[in-house]
Amino acid sequence: MKISNNTIYRMIKANLKKTLFVCLLALLSFALPIKKHITVWMIGDSTMCEYDSSRFPLTGWGMPFAQYFDSSVTIKNVAKGGRSTRTFIAEDRWQKVVENLKEGDYVFIQFGHNDEAKNYPDRYTTPDDYRKNLIKFITESRDKKAIPVLITPVSRRKFDANGNAIETHEVYSKIVREVAAQMDVHLVDLDAMSLKLLQQFGEKNSALLFMQLEPGENPNYPSGVHDNTHFNAYGARHVAELVLQAINDLHLEVSDRIFKKS
């Protein structure tokens, strides 16, 4: 078989390309250490959960939150409207999370709105049980070498006569803070942060963050809606920004995986 100079040249050239490519890959692997893929599990209630577009502009803060991470993170938002820590566990929703937890995963825990609702016996959870349930989430996460993050319940929109935003989760937020301190768990004090946000917007303009629609304004809510608990897309994003800032301030490893524009 006769091999022309030309063919040899082409073979060398092809191999050179391959060699260069391998070298480049090796260099890149030093420059960009390949991050282990992790999952951030979000457990909580209607203020955090995902919604179908038929309910737009209703938006849980977990929805925009998921838009800010690089491809090494999967956000699994399994929060569910109307759930307290008690019913989330009773419906085996927590069990399904535990079964899938892997080392290095995160569990973001935000409950309270439904736990504290005494007038809804189907979801109400006593302070004692609330504390126990939070501890259960933490210990079972840690058993699987996952990292729990406790989040105080995001504030409702409530102002006093002087235009000051009022604390709306006094008892249950305090329990979250206590459990975080007691068990040395990362704490995002979203209640305090969102209360400050509401104050910045002020009584009138803070309505722009919530599900407030006039009758006829939006086809998904023909008779309008005036809701001071649930967020619209704009409010949910502001809440997500607060959580992103908090995990950055806590120097959680996952905050290195927040997509940053250079």
Binding site: S53, S54, F56, P57, P64, Q67, Y68, N205, L208, E217, N218, P219, N220, Y221, P222, S223, N232, A233, Y234, R237, E241, L244, Q245, I258, F259, K260, K261
Partner: protein
């Protein structure tokens, strides 16, 4: 016999599969955004969520495009090719046509010719063009009154609409009214205003008086939807109908 019955049943189940496509052609104020641009939001994004299952919203709007560059880049041609009878074409340009220093600049004469092209070619496919004046920028004078920023090009849109009897949505006017209602300070909530460190996608912050936040985009989409109803366009019959719920 059973087969024919099956076919008959299936023909009822499948037959009315003639969906209306609503094409959105325009610029960045209308466009779908890359995730990394969030929370900047084009009004075409929330506009997706307002219709029942008989409608598909196909948002072809693109950042930075004028009528001229939209055509030159071959973005209009595939729309025309795909247009079916009864489809809609919502047309909103101006922001990039009207700025002489931009590469996308389009002279007033050419802008008119391009709008006419969109209208006549839509109609040649028995589709329904809707002209939309360019949505307002956030610009106030010292007394807190909003300023018109598209005077010339908005008028051109209106002229084409009048001349060819095209349904017109004067979004420039209506959005100015909304922005005025919010006032110089609160209107920042409608636009992409971010303080430094607030949002990972804009580490240095942002003060954008042209592009919208989620709130502004949704409000603009609601205006367009309201005008579609006011114009009695057939499309209004395909706006999602949700049973009115009793309040708790």
């Amino acid at each position: 016999m059973p087969l024919s019955i099956l076919v008959l049943i299936m023909s009822f189940a499948i037959a009315p599969n003639k969906k209306i496509t609503v094409y959105l052609i325009g610029d960045s104020t209308m466009a779908d955004k890359e995730v990394t641009a969030y929370p900047e939001t084009g009004w075409g994004m929330p506009f997706h969520y307002f219709f029942d299952s008989t409608v598909v919203v196909d948002n072809r709007a693109k950042n930075g495009r004028s009528t001229r560059t939209f055509i030159e880049e071959g973005r209009w041609k595939p729309v025309v090719e795909n247009l079916k009878e009864g489809d809609y074409v919502l047309i909103q340009f101006g922001h990039n046509d009207e700025v002489p220093t931009k590469k996308s600049y389009t002279t007033p004469e050419q802008f008119t010719i391009n709008l006419e092209k969109f209208v006549s070619e839509s109609r040649s496919k028995n589709a329904i063009p809707v002209l939309i004046t360019p949505v307002a920028r956030r610009k106030f004078d010292s007394s807190g009154k909003i300023e018109e920023t598209h005077a010339v090009y908005t008028q051109l849109v209106k002229d084409v609409a009048a001349k060819y009897k095209v349904p017109l949505i004067d979004l420039d006017q209506k959005s100015q009214e909304l922005v005025q209602q919010f006032g110089p300070e609160a209107s920042k909530y409608l636009y992409n205003y971010l303080s430094p460190g607030e949002n990972p996608h804009y580490p240095a912050g942002r003060k954008d008086d042209t592009h919208f936040s989620e709130l502004g985009a949704r409000k603009m989409a609601e205006i367009v939807l309201y005008e579609i109803k006011s114009l009695n366009l057939g499309l209004a019959n395909h706006i999602r109908v949700v049973p009115v719920k009793e309040k708790k």
